[in-house]
């Protein structure tokens, strides 16, 4: 082994020269990093153009040994090659420093795409809530329990082997390994209120909330059904519609306890040996805001509820002392987003509140408001196999899909409902243990109403890890981390989903233009924000050709996080001729375009936990300054004036060149200084 390493090092040394100008010199392990008994394991992925990837007449293992040795030469640590992961990535092993320290050194190499500590994972804690994994099939409950929260089965596996999970399951367990939710994150559930006495809502994370239902005309309380208007009691008195109350548009029905069902999916106490588990694991706080009563609720009350939940003032109502970061609305109505919703949602998203809403259940028709409103994360429903469930609405407004429950069979118990907390009362609530029930295979929970809280709960976990995320970032991260929709496995002969045309559209194979970016994967969503989030700040007001444009890292850090490496790249210079002036591995850079147009700049960061993040910024560059006002009048005249203009322009250009040279010199100094600061940060 030692001979191989020496030979490899010699061979690798010949590859180092081309990189000498853009990578730090090999250095021995700094005193502060010495950890004699440590064995460091790092997963490294090389950029496609890395000289270390040059093919040699060796086996794959031999090639990786050579790569490890070459890399080790550069970072000053003898590296062995571990398991290969792909043509460009494998594990390297070193001694005398920690995995994170080695990852930071390797990540600083210019031809390394990322380097992260190859850390041990522990057995994921599975909730002990009896309905999460029923040991015996409940008399009325689904034998698969809370299938929708579990890790999906291996791709391509036979359905007979799925057990208590399914391909559309949202993979919450591994997310809980990262976070079980922070009480600083509040999710407001705008719905029918809640049954506060349900045993699965006794975890101390259910806030009092508010009842936002105003009187009907004539000071009647028909909708509210609690004998009063807006007040601090968000408990659900029931929303049953008696025969005498029913109309053509509001059918007779039993009480739904809908708010208890949706809120429990986000905030039920978890791993407490009682009932069900929830996406938020009982860690995030949930806040009922009652806006729906008999036959639904008024837009004005819903919008007041949105504002109050977000901490914005509502006339006549005390301010919310525990503003929400996420709002879930499992409700809808008309298709087009009303101006009042546009205003309200715009204000709350500007305040940093993520709004999630259900698509609607009209069987493949257009997405309903407020899900159709700008800024809302609209959620469609998929069946257990990942196809669009018949009732779900779809369209380009959908951001993502999640399970909404489906029965598979036309008769007998429903096989894949969304199990959640409820009450047994058909009109008024039944108190105590007899009233506290869970929906099941007979008393089913089905609808996009139940897809939306799963996404809202995921957003709450993401914010628990990374509280600085904006609503737009939450949406983007949910989407990029979503799993792709299946193209097989649905009911025989079903079509591919199409844009709504006013005709019912039942089960179909989802596309990204109809059902959003993919199927919710909570673990991937949380992992995608579990580190420093790269962000670029453009500090030059008007990017102009032939002038230095300053960019700085505006990356989002949590306490305990630091950035150990920066890498700036011009991904596409377009017509601008943009190039980075000076160092490309500092916290800021200067770019000097030579012409108008647009270019794309990328910042990639690696943090002290080995988390890699990148972001891009599209920059529009305007032309150089126009002729100054002092230009002689002749310059603006036609014909012979052109000569004067040319002279003026040449003088301007000369001045600009001198200015640019000075600016570049200053910028180079500044960049060097910032780079040094970043290196200091790594030493810390």
């Amino acid at each position: 082994m030692r001979r191989i390493l020496i030979c490899a090092a010699v061979a690798a040394a010949s590859w180092l020269a081309p990189l000498g100008a853009r990578t730090p010199l090999a250095q021995s392990v700094a005193a502060a990093e010495v950890a004699p008994n440590e064995t460091a394991r790092v997963i490294v992925k090389f950029r496609a153009d890395s000289p270390l990837l040059r093919k040699q007449a060796l086996s794959a293992a031999g090639q990786q040994t050579l790569q490890a040795a070459g890399l080790g030469q550069r970072v000053g640590v003898a590296l062995e090659s571990g398991r290969g992961l792909s043509e460009r990535s494998h594990v390297v092993i070193g001694h005398g420093l920690t995995s994170k320290q080695l990852a930071a050194r390797i990540a600083a190499q210019g031809d390394v795409e990322y380097a992260v500590a190859d850390e041990r994972k522990h057995i994921v804690e599975v909730p002990n809530d009896p309905l999460y994994v029923p040991t015996t099939a409940p008399a009325r409950g689904p034998a698969v329990g809370q299938w929708y929260l579990k890790p999906p089965p291996p791709a391509g596996s036979a359905s007979a082997a799925w057990g208590s999970t399914a391909p559309a399951a949202i993979n919450a367990e591994q997310a809980w390994d990262v976070t079980k939710g922070s009480p600083s994150i509040v999710v407001a559930v705008l719905d029918t209120g809640v049954r506060f006495d349900h045993p699965d809502l006794q975890g101390g994370n259910v806030l009092p909330g508010y009842d936002m239902i105003s009187p009907d005309s004539g000071n009647a309380f028909t909708t509210a059904n609690d004998g009063n208007g807006r007040d601090s009691d968000a408990s659900d008195p029931g929303d049953f519609v008696a025969s005498a109350e029913a109309t053509a548009s509001c059918a007779r029905s039993s009480s739904s306890w809908h708010g208890t069902q949706t809120l429990a999916l986000i905030g039920a106490a978890t791993h407490n040996g009682v009932g069900m588990a929830s996406v938020g694991h009982g860690g995030v706080r949930v806040m009922p805001v009652r806006v729906l009563g008999k036959c639904g609720g008024y837009d004005s009350d819903i919008q007041a509820g949105i504002r109050w939940a977000a901490g914005l003032p509502v006339p006549g109502v005390p301010d919310n002392q525990t503003p929400a970061r996420v709002i879930n609305m499992s409700l809808g109505g008309t298709v087009a987003c009303e101006q009042s919703y546009i205003d309200t949602i715009g204000q709350v998203t500007a305040a940093g509140v993520t709004v999630v809403a259900s698509a609607g259940n009209s069987a493949g028709h257009a997405v309903s408001s407020p899900a159709s409103c700008p800024g809302v994360i609209a959620v469609a429903a998929v069946r257990h196999v990942g196809t669009k469930v018949g009732f779900s609405d779809i369209g380009p407004e959908i951001a993502i899909s999640a399970p909404g429950g489906n029965c598979v069979n036309d008769t007998g118990p429903c096989l894949y409902p969304i199990l959640t907390a409820s009450n047994s009362g058909t009109t008024t609530p039944v108190a105590g243990p007899p009233g506290a029930i869970y929906t099941d295979s007979v008393n089913t929970s089905l609808g996009t109403s139940f897809s939306s809280p799963l996404v809202a709960g995921a957003a709450a976990l993401m914010l628990s890890v990374q509280p600085a995320l904006t609503p737009a970032q939450v949406k983007a991260k949910l989407q990029v981390s979503a799993r792709p929709f299946p193209t097989t496995g649905g009911t025989a002969a079903i079509p591919v989903c199409a844009a709504p045309t006013g005709v019912d559209q039942l089960e179909c194979y989802c596309t990204t233009s109809t059902c959003g970016a993919g199927m919710l994967d909570v673990a991937a969503a949380v992992q995608s924000v579990n580190g420093v989030q790269a962000s670029i700040a453009l500090t030059t007001t008007t990017p102009t050709a032939n002038q230095a444009i300053a960019f700085a890292s505006n990356s989002v850090l949590n306490p305990g996080q630091s950035i150990v490496s920066y890498s700036w790249t011009i991904l596409n210079a377009g017509t601008t001729g943009a190039t980075i002036t000076g160092a490309k591995d500092g916290a800021s850079v200067v770019v000097t375009p030579t012409a108008a147009g647009a270019f794309v700049i990328e910042l990639a960061t690696t943090d002290n936990k080995g988390f890699f993040s990148s972001t891009t910024l599209f920059v529009t560059v305007v032309g150089p300054p126009v002729t100054p006002a002092s230009t002689p009048p002749a310059a603006t005249s036609s014909g012979g004036g052109g000569g004067a203009l040319g002279v003026g322009w040449l003088l301007l250009l000369l001045g600009a060149v001198v200015s640019l040279a000075l600016t570049a010199a200053r910028a180079g100094s500044a960049a060097t200084g910032l780079s040094a600061a970043a290196r200091d940060g790594r030493r810390r």
């Binding site: 509001c250 639904g296 499992s330």
Partner: protein
């Protein structure tokens, strides 16, 4: 397949009726206020924010020429008003007058209803 369609569940008030105007959801039966046969709830965005609900209602009554009461506030800009009409045609006319009062109302729209999207 078991599911509840939202279309069938989109609701108006318990004793609601739908006017043929495409705008008004009637939220109360006739007989409660003189000649009133229906009450239409609208949402207005005030051109100049206010929380004086009595003044807002009085101004709406003046503009429409019929009784308008303040139903609920969403913010200092957006308010729900109940327009008490004697007939659908009168509702239409009242709403048209409110929409024409651009210096008072930036937006006039239905205070519609939403329903839960699941069983």
């Amino acid at each position: 397949m078991k599911f509840t369609t939202m279309a069938g569940a989109v609701a108006s008030a318990a004793a609601a009726c739908l006017l043929g105007t495409g705008l008004g959801a009637c939220a109360a039966p006739a007989g409660s206020a003189g000649e009133t046969s229906a009450v239409v709830r609208v949402m207005v965005k005030l051109a100049h924010s206010s929380e004086d609900v009595d003044a807002i209602a009085a101004e709406a009554s003046r503009i429409t020429g019929i009784r308008v009461t303040h139903a609920a506030a969403t913010s200092s800009s957006w308010h729900a008003l109940a327009v008490h009409c004697a007939s659908p045609a009168q509702c239409d006319e009242a709403i048209a007058r409110m929409r024409a009062a651009g210096t008072v109302y930036a937006v006039v729209e239905t205070d519609g209803r939403k329903a839960r999207s699941g069983s």
